[in-house]
């Protein structure tokens, strides 16, 4: 019914203003009188983001700063000792009055900003306990790459077959639905016993973490293909094989890329936790070893690197997406 009813209307309505550059989201200045509640009027103001970053740093600095050092320690303040070592010296010294050594958060609970930046400096130049920071980082990245590679190589064909065939759909549905809800880390003990300690368990775990996501993403990519595109290809003379290679797979690329980004996030999170035991190299391992030596500063540096790399990889994938799939979201 509706197609016919709407028909008359669409004659007058200009349906062609779907040009993305003219969409309200990207419009900068306008004469809107009401902005509150208008989602398109809300943008992230960079200055405020910088402000919040500075505020965080200030907060960190102020709660971990030592106010009112005892006289004896004022001399050693510029000796290059870390806040934490100073604090420990003070605790051991006879003339130290811990009451005059005021700090909102003790360096035994959370490292000071000064200690952390110093630790970052030495980590970058000398590494931690004879293993360079680069080795730790690369070990983690390499595991994620291996895990994602096999997760994609296994997941994409399975997902494609699930989108194309009812039998494959039925066959794999049980498997996917049974395994997908399992948090990968819950399998770490089992994988450690089955595959071996450390590296041997970590990579299969990452494959497990990414494969279901890649299956579901590629299945969705196939299922979301417009019927008219498929029909157009057939009536232009495409064979089934050509339809798959020239239409369905390119058409599914945006969804697969989204899958990659989600899988990368999950893998990264799983990896660092998996590295906390059993491996010698890797950012998780570094944090875990630092814990044994009560090196809070190294732990915090490790956390910051993990966060920064996570963001960096996502930015990189988004950039790749915009280069490889420029038609994304511009239908």
């Amino acid at each position: 019914m509706s197609a016919f009813m709407n028909g008359g209307v669409s004659d007058e309505k200009t349906l062609e203003v779907k040009d993305p550059s003219k969409s309200p989201r990207s419009r900068r200045s306008d004469n809107k009188t009401v902005a509150f509640g208008d989602a398109s009027a809300v943008r992230s103001v960079p200055a405020w983001s910088v402000f919040s970053f500075i505020l965080l740093m200030l907060l960190w600095w102020s709660i971990t700063k030592a106010w009112g050092y005892p006289e004896d320690f004022k001399a050693t303040l510029d000796s290059g000792l870390r806040d934490r070592e100073l604090f420990e010296q003070c605790q051991r010294a006879d003339n130290c009055d811990t009451n005059s050594y005021t700090q909102i958060v003790s360096p035994l609970t959370f490292p000071s900003l000064r200690d952390t930046t110093t630790a970052a400096g030495t980590l970058f130049s000398d590494g931690f306990r004879n293993i360079s920071l680069w080795t730790h980082t690369w070990a983690s990245l390499w595991r994620v790459l291996k895990g994602m590679f096999w997760g994609t190589v296994i997941g994409v064909p399975v997902g494609l077959s699930m989108g194309l065939s009812s039998r494959a759909r039925g066959f794999f549905d049980t498997i996917v639905e049974a395994f997908r809800p399992i948090p990968p880390l819950a399998l770490l003990p089992l994988f450690t016993l089955s595959f071996g300690l450390g590296e041997k368990a970590a990579v299969p775990l990452l494959v497990f973490a990414s494969v279901w996501i890649m299956i579901i993403a590629s299945r969705a990519g196939i299922r979301n293909a417009q019927l008219s595109k498929v029909r157009a290809a057939y009536s232009l003379g495409a064979s089934k094989r050509q339809l798959l290679l020239k239409v369905l797979i390119p058409n599914a690329l945006p969804e697969m890329f989204t899958g990659l980004r989600v899988a990368l996030g999950v893998s990264w999170g799983t990896l660092v936790a998996a590295e906390l035991s059993g491996v010698q190299e890797g950012l998780g391992a570094m944090i875990s070893i630092a814990k044994n030596f009560s090196r809070l500063d190294v732990i915090v540096v490790g956390i910051v690197i993990i966060a920064a790399l996570g963001v960096l990889m996502d930015v990189l994938l988004r950039f790749l997406e915009s280069v490889l799939i420029p038609w994304q979201g511009k239908g």
Partner: protein, 266 residues
């Protein structure tokens, strides 16, 4: 060019609750090669179903479709299709979209480039070959869809509300383009539309269809499509002749709608 012959098509859809919908009932017609047939009617009259059967996307419950004496059993490049939304391949340039059909047949894109240029000229998009699909407006995308369909040199072009998503001005221009293509190529065209005016100006032959069960209720052979090739289509639409036929069909469709609503209320 091959004539089309449709014999006693019945189309019954089974729907989940054990009911069935009689989408098409005893549809028969013959269409000589080179005619421009428009299918018009309210929603649910089966016009798109009929087009999909002609394209080979659907098999009728019974009855047969023959093109040039050969039965239609599935989609084929001798029956090209144009959809409401271009159904273009966004990951390829305009030129590659147009060469899609020939490439599927084993031709190299570069060998087909001169023909792509010619087709771009035919649909009024000269110089747009290197553009990406998402850079084009809706009207331009439909021009690409037409060129892509023509690239295979089909016997017949099937169009499913090809101008339905365009604004009024673009729509008028595209109507003229379709008429010119029809005149220049001499291909048979079957076009589904829900706009009475469009059906009349484009239809060398018009079928007005009725729902429940879907059937061809009236057949018109009209002079407007041929006349629009030489006369101003807008003036043509304003003539009393045109208006009379339009009123007749409109009131006929209104009656059908009222009848359906009455039946549903009762």
């Amino acid at each position: 060019m091959k004539p089309l012959s449709v014999q006693n098509i019945e189309m019954v859809y089974e729907i989940p609750k054990g009911d069935s919908v009689h989408a098409l009932s005893d549809v028969s017609f013959d269409l000589e090669a080179g005619r421009l047939l428009t299918l018009l009617g309210p929603s649910g009259c089966g016009k798109t179903t009929l087009l999909n059967i002609l394209a080979g996307f659907l098999a009728p419950t019974s009855g047969s479709v023959m093109l040039g004496g050969e039965p239609v059993t599935g989609p084929s490049k001798e029956r090209g299709m144009v959809f409401q939304q271009g159904a273009l391949f966004e990951w390829q340039s305009v030129a590659k979209n147009i060469s899609f059909g020939p490439r599927m047949g084993g031709q190299k894109h570069n060998d087909f480039l001169p023909e792509v240029e010619r087709l771009l000229g035919v649909v009024g998009l000269t110089g747009f070959g290197d553009k990406q699909i998402y850079e084009l407006s809706g009207g331009m995308q439909q021009r690409v869809a037409l060129a892509r369909c023509l690239a295979n040199d089909p016997e017949m072009m099937l169009m499913d509300e090809p101008l339905g998503a365009l604004d009024a001005l673009t729509r008028e221009k595209m109507q003229s383009l379709i008429l010119n293509l029809w005149d220049e190529t001499g291909k048979s065209i079957v076009l589904v539309t829900h706009s009475v005016e469009e059906a009349l100006i484009l239809g060398d032959m018009v079928f007005v269809m009725a729902p429940r069960p879907g059937r061809i209720e009236k057949v018109y052979e009209l002079p407007f499509a041929r006349r629009a090739l030489t006369e101003d289509p807008r003036e043509l639409k304003a003539t009393t002749e045109f208006q009379e036929v339009k009123e007749e069909i409109l009131s006929f469709i209104w009656e059908m709608e009222e009848e359906i609503m009455g039946r549903e209320a009762g």
